[in-house]
Symmetry: C2
Subunit: 555 residues, 2 copies
């Protein structure tokens, strides 16, 4: 029974692209009934298991501790490896071995930030996984694990003092080379932000565009690549890149992508510690994207975009080739002026591998987490994506909420993001520099000045209408000049760059920026009241200290 | 020439409903070339002049002082009335008489909050107007006027010590009676907010719905009422109420309307003085509106709502019968899920006169100022309404901007509004009261408690996803219970009521509320950094003092 099911789904499941319904049914069955051999449970290369077990991996680590240890029975002083093997994915209690110690992590599994990927390791040795997912090498993680200790491995199962570990393939080994100017926050998965100096250009070069991965970068070939569309009636239609390019009108959209964690480090600094990557101001970049309109493709696939049943189809789910998944509301997907694209070009070049080659979704105005890369499957559904990235990670709670007891379903998945701004550069401009003289003249100034530059951006295509800048920590305010960059697209999907020059004598100890969008939404001045334990959507005023006496290279 | 022009436009201009282009041409001509007799310039009942001269009236008073007096020549000690008459609407310098004094208000006219309605009075005596527009009876206004003093009237023109004033009709005399529970901010025009106890019901009764008028309430008959639609090619189509009801499917929308000045008084109190009516928390109310979809009517009128020329038609202008005008972007007007209606029923009753009888626009999710009452004309145009309510009054500037030198065109007209919330009730609940016992039991409490209730609301149809409430001035936070009221409509156009019960022992000196919308927009904690001189869009955290020892009637 198991192996025929296995073959059945494996055939349909290239790159983890099972249909939603069958995926759920199969996943459920596997978890509850199918015993796994050690070899199967650790195979990264078997695509079926990518789909079944990898509900995901985030680079965040849960820092909240878990205090109860609840084992089936008092632990034996030593435990045989064969006994550990019995506590695999389908056992009531699930064990792992780390080095020579055995842990019953059953109660921890629901809280694993990486989701059910952890089931790959239960019933066996966890060390080779942690060598790949290096994010685990933190004291916090070891502390959590230690709470679940149940005993030591029997020395008879050790060779040279350790368990001969199963050979697993490193899925990151084919990740592309990256630009050295990116500021790296994690290697596996790769996460890196754009350096401040590279945030100054309106269009971010592909090589400097920030990278936010949840898993590895799939190695895909454009020639045999197909994206599958599953309609509400279960019918499936697929398109090659060539199909997309030849059948539909290509569209260009200038669109800024921003991670929900952009500026998380400011929340850590100004309020309290959060979990997640410590992004500064560079988890945001801007590009011109070329692709075809999702609404055109859905219409061509046979979906009636004007008169569909609104109870049957409420969401469009995107599934990436590496297992990442997310969804957006159907109105966003179909809106004529919402500009949701299937993208194959970035700044005039084929999509780089790090940005979704050969095809990604682009959901302008929404958190970048919905613009799924390496897009393999599009499903029209009455429900959101059930991935952890839709159901858990990309949400926001109150300053008092968090940890073990949070009701994830009580907050909506982040889609549109609030208004945001940051100072990317603060430098002295002197009339003694020939270059600065020109700039000063534009502002009608002849004295020493401070030049401030930055970006402002709002979700939902809401235009930035005003940027207020203070040279003295919010005591006085001025309006920055908004640069008139030209963008493609039906709404304001791209950031607004701004600049301001202030006489040096007016500068205090700290510069501050805050922006206003066309819905007249504003940024809050502080962090603690908007603290959320995942550190998402940090949008408190950006403050940058200024030392009056300092001289920079231009002076 | 003048009189034939007069007749020509008077015929087309019932209730001031000239076509946009002809209106502008005629208005221009009148201002520059047509000499006005005193009788014409003060006639409220001549509809043509309503259109030409009443660019509007707001009940706000400009509190910023104006310091330069700039008269044509040194004033004569006394001035003859005939000389004053020469300084009318078409003169280079424009004078008015107040009591026995003459003022050259030329330089003030551009700053008049009521706009060009002031031109009705120049070249003559201003007293009868001020008796009607009683809003002028403030020291601020007299102070401004005094700066423009140029001389005294010649005693030969006085009878019993005053100028025999022209007889003008009181346009407010047919205003309807109002509910005594409304909290009145001005009588003429009538402006009154809903009392806190009436803000507690989800649907505000018609009689208690807040009223915000800029002029008088027109007396209109439903039987001969027609709304005119002007298409981009200049063609006009008109519909009676009967036409609208019989030709189009009626639609119900539950929609909260909020004045941009709601909570302005909190800005006055917490930051600085603003101009405008001192609304507390009650310039907001909620109703079920019945009408027909504007997009259906426009399509029927011959406008191609799918493939119109986007350069030719960018805005839909609404003109009210009393001369008020405003506009909304074409995308809002046509959006399938934007629910813009032409409304003839409010909470199941014919529209009350105070709320636009027999027909008004309803623009859900936008500032109420765009939901034009007594709707007479709808114009599809490449430009916004040129009314002061579109071009000036309903805008927002930075905390440092304001007064004489503000560039009105630098800020967009307010359409969608930012997230907002308020505490409508704060009371002790005691286990010693039988009624309170029930409530306490719901929250699993058996001790003295404080019950807090309120509303939260966001623009753009963005749902309220969380309400944070603090019993101790923001030190600790809790999540209020969001009441599950049912609404009609494609998006969240109605406010969310919320409630929370806290043990009395946790209550500090001040309760605070802040809300979050589905775009995760937040409210700012303070007022001064978001000060704007008109006091619009006040959305700082609402703080309500609490006295622990107090007993209320229920205790």
């Amino acid at each position: 029974m198991k192996s025929s099911l296995h073959r059945l789904f494996a055939r349909r499941a290239e790159f983890g692209a099972l249909s939603t319904k069958s995926f759920r049914a199969y996943s459920h069955r596997q978890t509850l009934q199918t015993p796994l051999s050690g070899a199967q449970s650790i195979s990264f290369v078997k695509p079926l298991f990518s789909a079944v077990f990898i509900a995901g991996f985030v680079s965040a680590v849960w820092t909240h501790s878990h205090s109860t240890v609840h084992a089936e029975a008092p632990p034996a002083k030593t435990i045989r490896l064969a006994e550990v093997r019995k506590h695999g994915a389908n056992a009531t209690r699930r064990w792992v071995v780390k080095s020579t110690k055995v842990y019953d992590i059953t109660d921890w599994i629901p809280n694993h930030p990486g989701g059910e990927v952890i089931l790959r390791a239960v019933g066996g040795v966890i060390d080779p996984y942690w060598e790949i997912f290096t994010i685990h090498n933190k004291k916090d993680v070891y502390d959590i694990l230690e709470q679940y200790y149940v005993g030591d491995l029997d020395p008879r199962d050790l060779v040279d003092g350790r368990v001969p570990s199963d050979d697993i393939e490193d899925p990151f080994k084919n990740d592309p080379a990256r630009h050295p100017d990116l500021i790296v926050h994690s290697d596996r998965p790769f996460n890196a932000e754009t350096a401040p100096e590279d945030l100054k250009s309106y269009i971010t070069p592909n090589s400097n565009f920030y990278i936010r991965h949840h898993l590895w970068v799939p190695s895909l070939s454009q020639d045999d690549y197909k994206v599958q569309i599953e309609l509400p009636d279960g019918e499936e239609v697929e398109y090659s890149i060539k199909d997309l390019k030849s059948k539909f009108r290509s569209t260009k959209v200038t669109c800024t992508l921003q991670c929900s964690g952009n500026r998380r480090q400011h929340m850590n600094d100004e309020a309290r510690s959060t979990s997640g990557l410590p992004w500064e101001i560079g988890a945001i970049s801007n590009a011109v994207w070329t692709g075809v309109r999702l609404r055109d493709v859905l219409a061509d696939a046979g979906f009636d975009i004007d008169t569909f049943d609104e109870n049957e189809t409420k969401h469009v789910q995107f599934q990436g080739a590496e297992a990442y998944g997310a969804s957006i509301p159907i109105d966003k997907a179909l809106g004529k002026r919402e500009d949701v694209l299937l993208v194959y070009e970035m700044n005039g070049e084929p999509l780089p591998r790090d940005h979704g080659f050969p095809l990604r979704a682009l959901v302008p105005g929404h958190v970048a987490a919905r613009s799924v890369k390496w897009l393999k499957r599009i499903t029209l559904s009455d429900e959101e994506s059930q991935s952890q990235w839709q159901q858990r990670d990309y949400k926001c709670f109150g300053p008092n909420q968090g940890g073990q007891d949070v009701d994830w379903s009580s907050a909506p998945a982040i889609q549109e993001m609030p208004v945001q701004s940051a100072i990317t550069s603060l430098r002295n401009a002197s009339p003694r520099s020939a270059e600065d003289q020109k700039l000063l003249r534009v502002y009608g100034m002849e004295e020493d000045a401070v030049e401030v530059e930055g970006y402002a951006f709002a979700g939902g295509g809401r235009r930035i209408v005003r940027v207020d800048i203070s040279p003295d920590d919010g005591r006085t305010w001025h309006q920055a000049e908004l640069l008139p960059d030209e963008a493609h697209g039906s709404k304001s999907w791209a950031w607004t760059r701004w600049r301001w020059l202030v006489p040096k004598r007016l500068a205090g100890r700290q510069f501050v920026v805050k922006a206003v969008d066309e819905g007249y939404n504003v940024q809050p001045e502080s962090y603690e009241p908007h603290y959320n334990f995942r550190g998402n959507l940090t949008s408190g005023w950006h403050r940058v200290p200024y030392t009056k006496g300092r001289r920079d290279s231009k002076e």
